[in-house]
Amino acid sequence: MLLEVDQVAKSFGTDPAKVQVLQGVSLRLAAGETVALTGESGSGKSTLLHLCAGLDRPDQGQIRIDGADIGAQSDSGRAGMRRNAIGIVFQQFNLIPSLDVAANLAFQARMAGRLDAARIATLADRLGLADLLHRYPDQLSGGQQQRVAIGRALAGAPALILADEPTGNLDEATGAAVMDLMLDLVADAGAGLLMVTHSEKLAARMDRRLHLSSGRVA
């Protein structure tokens, strides 16, 4: 199993103002499987995604990626898993502003030590970025930036892609186009995908959907 989430709980703040964000959430995601994570604002979707990325640790329960408990790792260990096993696509793109498109695309693959120029060239081609390789992020439109971010996440051939409302910052038409590309590419790469979205239409295109409500799987 690629991703196993077992009875995870997470809260923020301390007692009187304590907010229980997740309670007893469990989830299985097999290699190549796509799962949509839906729910109201504040239902804990993003928190769950962050926990899966090792950006934060669960209070209770376990999250295993390829069998390794990500919550039990040190900062360096979790960073290593993110580098090697996970590709993340943010709502805010989070490109490196001082690097051009080519360098941004190659960045995570280089960090993982899996730089494959041919793969990146193909990705750039399919993402329609071939003519933009020497531009800088601030010279790109939002849709272009998100395509770079998707390319960056996939370039290192990770087993798991985590996406946090990747089209949330894009208009509908652009968002749909970007999403098509992304789903195609994830499918071609055979990666697992866990995607937070509030779009029913998007969720419907995934293998499965998991609906969170008030921190629980509904």
Binding site: H50, A53, L55, D56, D75, S76, A79, G80, M81, R82, R83, N84, I86, I88, F90, N94, L95, I96, P97, S98, L99, A103, F107, Q108, R110, M111, A112, G113, Y136, R152
Partner: protein, 801 residues
């Protein structure tokens, strides 16, 4: 992974070249000024040490003759034949500015001359006329083609301006056949020897110079330089702090992204450290080279100053010393650590998911301002505490540092308060926006403004000190140089003839005769003065009894200079014993004696001649109506056969003295200008950096219909306004600095106090320069703003986050 990350981090500088440049230049200039000053100081100290080491001055005992006497060769032979292992030395000035040192290689104690002397050269060449001289390479370069000197061989360790020859050759060069200045006492003496008192009762045994007098005397000068160097370094550090802080804040989203993409925190910090070290190495390296150039440029002035003020010879050629490189880099790293420590600390504690808000850095938090104000007040209190109990140079400078830092920290607090007040008073929307916007910019500019404040205050302080000094000094010169002509007789016979000849022709002939004697445990010059209106009317007394001149003329009182009074703790009414005078005399007055490091005593000329009958009676001041001075000078030359260089007129002496004085502060002036330049640069870079980040603030104003030209004008106005406010604040700080320099540092260093003058014209000039610098620094960003593509402003709306 590391290469990719380092590349991502460094690529920031490629996209923010100006920021990189300001960091680089800030650090380079800070290192340059600091290390340049250090290089100068090290060079000077090495020169003093060379001088002190000459002939084991710092190590060997000597036998010295009574003041103004010499040792005869006969006495030398008597001592040697009495079993005393002593070695003769003749020291004298050749043609005014070359110190000739004659030694006897056959008796010179082990290790008292530089190693290279006597290597591979035939002894007969050394002792047989014309002989052979040893001198430092730069001395040889200076003396090249000077006829009359023996051939010279370079020896690097010799003090500048010194030529070492055989004693026989020295006697010939100096025209002092048969004379010896002093005898070096070999540390190894035989088991049996005749008592020194029987052999040479006139000679006294003098202990080696434990400390280095020159070093002590010149300490204050070097401390002044060091203080200035440090100030420049501090100004540079403000730039570095600003640039590094900004670079960290701007890259916070990047740091977050990197961590999200799988860079462990520890690696990130390590690589940021590597980046800083790399930048520091490059910038500090460049700074060291620049510092060397600054030092090489300033050193001739410094050397001139030191020789003018103290007679200390300093080599005008700079030697690169390894410790200087080490210290320079250490200083640069310490400075960068200080500037970047806070940023790194914050990063280390930052959670991965913390919101990345670069602008937070620019937001003035009331709390931090309050803290800053509190620290400033504490520092000021510490400074005042030091002033209360300050003693000595170090305390004086520590106090200066505390006060300056307090003032710098207080500046943003004061400016923020002023701007808030203005905002409240303004009623027009545009004006209110201007004030509010200025206040919002303050945090980004405050480091640069603090640097400017320090530079301006230092300049105000130093110009005030120098001008006060100059004012007092010229006044004092007018008093001291009251005689119209000064004449020096070649020998006693000519002196007597001169006095007889002048008696009917001049209004008065005032003897300027002196001997060296001991008083209050230190060597002093004892002068004899005639009872004459010249002194009664002009002599610059700081404190005196009412009948001072009558008592002096009667021979039962004396005057001391301020230096002697301060060092020996003497005041009017105290008795003072002078070796050679039969009884202690009462101090009837204390007079100012600027620029003289030594103690001085004045008695009546009769007292001097009675008790020191051998006093050379050669120098005289001549009072005469100024319009007759030229005729008299010509008559002295024609009728008495005096050479022109025996007669000096008042104007020439004054010009020379003022020249020495101007030299003294030429270096300080140059450093002041450099510091101001650095501060101007700090403002420029701060403005440029802010300009790029300010589009989101400007776009809405532009959007509501204010033209870009208008906006640019406001930017310029803001810069000038802030500079002006800083200048106004710098003025009292600078005056405080001057006060400390004159009343505390100067007394501790030189032994005299100076009245402080106020020189508003200097301030206006400085203020003008500062406004110009501030305006110029803002002009470029403003010009860019005026010509900004509207699309970029529109982009702000499109990308509003």
């Amino acid at each position: 992974m590391r290469r990719a990350v380092l590349q991502a981090l460094l690529s920031h500088w490629r996209r923010h070249k100006l920021q990189g440049l300001s960091l680089f230049l800030g650090l380079a200039i800070a290192t340059a000024l600091w290390s340049g000053v250090q290089a100068i100081n090290a060079q000077a100290r090495a020169s003093y040490d060379d001088a002190a080491r000459v002939l084991g001055q710092n190590r060997l005992e000597r036998l010295v003759p009574p003041p103004d006497a010499v040792i005869s060769e006969q006495t030398y032979v008597v001592l040697r034949r009495g079993g005393w292992r002593v070695s003769p030395v003749l020291s004298g000035m050749w043609q005014g500015d070359v110190r000739v040192l004659g030694i006897d290689p056959s008796t010179l104690p082990m290790g008292s001359a530089p190693a290279q002397i006597g290597q591979g050269l035939p002894i007969q060449d050394f002792i047989t006329p014309p002989g052979l001289g040893y001198a430092a390479p730069e001395t040889i370069a200076l003396l090249k083609d000077t006829p009359g000197l023996p051939p010279l061989t370079p020896v690097p360790d010799l003090a500048p301006g010194l030529v070492m020859v055989d004693i026989g050759i020295a006697q010939g060069l100096l025209g002092r056949e048969g004379q010896i200045s002093y005898l070096l006492v070999d540390p190894v003496q035989p088991l049996v020897q005749a008592p020194l008192g029987d052999l040479a009762p006139d000679l006294t045994r003098q202990a080696p110079d434990a400390g280095n007098d020159l070093a002590r005397l010149t300490d204050s000068f070097h401390l002044n330089l060091t203080a200035f160097g440090f100030l420049s370094f501090a100004v540079g550090l403000f730039i570095v702090h600003g640039a590094i802080g900004l670079a960290f804040e701007q890259r916070r989203p990047l740091f977050r992204t990197l961590r999200a993409l799988g860079v462990p925190l520890r690696d990130l910090i390590t690589m940021l450290l590597a980046e800083i070290v790399l930048l520091t190495l490059v910038a500090a390296g460049a700074g060291m080279v620049l510092g060397y150039l600054i030092a090489a440029w300033l050193l001739p002035d410094v050397a001139a100053t030191l020789s003018g003020l103290y007679g200390a010879a300093v080599s005008g050629e700079l030697a690169l010393r390894p410790q200087w490189w080490g210290a320079g880099f250490a200083m640069a790293f310490a400075g960068v650590a200080l500037a970047s420590g806070q940023s790194l600390w914050r990063l280390a504690r930052l959670p991965v998911l913390a919101p990345a808000q670069p602008r937070a850095w620019l937001r003035a938090s009331v709390r931090s301002l309050r803290w800053q104000g509190l620290v400033a007040i504490l520092l000021a209190l510490a400074g005042i505490g030091l002033a209360w109990r300050a003693e000595g140079l170090i305390a004086g400078f520590a106090m200066l540092a505390a006060l300056l830092l307090a003032a710098a920290l207080l500046l943003p607090v004061l400016l923020a308060a002023l701007l808030a007040l203005a905002e409240r008073l303004g009623d027009r929307a545009m004006l209110r926006w201007f004030w509010a916007d200025t206040r919002q910019q303050l945090p980004g500019l405050s480091l640069a403004l603090m640097a400017l404040l320090l530079a301006l205050a230092a300049n105000v302080g130093v110009t005030t000190m120098v001008s006060s000094f100059r004012q007092t000094f010229t006044g004092w010169l007018d008093q001291r140089l009251a005689s119209e002509l000064y004449v020096t007789a070649a020998d006693e016979a000519q002196g007597a003839a001169l006095r007889d000849w002048l008696a009917p022709r001049a209004d008065a002939v005032l003897p300027i005769w002196d001997v060296t004697a001991q008083a209050a445990g230190r060597p002093v010059a004892v002068y004899g003065v005639a009872d004459h209106a010249t002194y009664r009317d002009h002599w610059p007394l700081l404190d005196a009894t009412s009948d001072v001149w009558d008592r002096l003329a009667m021979g039962d009182a004396l005057l001391v200079n301020e230096q002697l009074a301060r060092r020996a703790g003497l005041s009017v009414g105290d008795p003072l014993s002078v070796a050679g005078l039969p009884a202690p005399l009462t101090i009837a007055g204390v007079y100012s004696d600027y620029g003289n490091p030594l103690g001085q005593v004045i008695v009546s000329v009769d007292t001097l001649v009675t008790h020191f009958p051998d006093v050379p009676k050669l120098r005289h001041g001549i009072r005469i109506a100024p319009d007759r001075a030229d005729d008299l000078r010509r008559a002295m030359q024609d009728e008495l056969g005096l050479s022109p260089d025996q007669i000096t007129d008042q104007a020439a002496i004054k010009a020379f003295s003022l020249g020495v004085f101007e030299q003294t502060f030429a270096v300080t002036g140059a450093l002041g200008v450099l510091t101001l330049g650095v501060a101007g640069f700090a403002i420029l870079t701060a403005q440029l950096t802010l300009a790029a980040m300010r589009l989101p603030q400007l776009a809405p104003v532009w959007g509501v219909g204010v033209t870009r030209r208008h906006l640019a004008g406001l930017e310029l106005l803001r810069a000038v306004l802030l500079t002006a406010l800083t200048m106004i604040f710098a003025l009292p700080v600078g005056l405080l600095l001057a006060w400390v320099l004159l009343k505390i540092v100067n007394v501790a260093a030189f032994g005299w106090e100076l009245p402080m003058g106020l020189f508003p014209r200097d301030w206006l000039l400085l203020g003008g320069i500062a406004l110009l610098a501030g305006g110029a620094a803002a002009a470029w960003p403003a010009w860019r703003l005026a010509r900004l593509q509207p699309a970029r402003l529109l982009g702000v709306f499109a990308h509003e986050r």
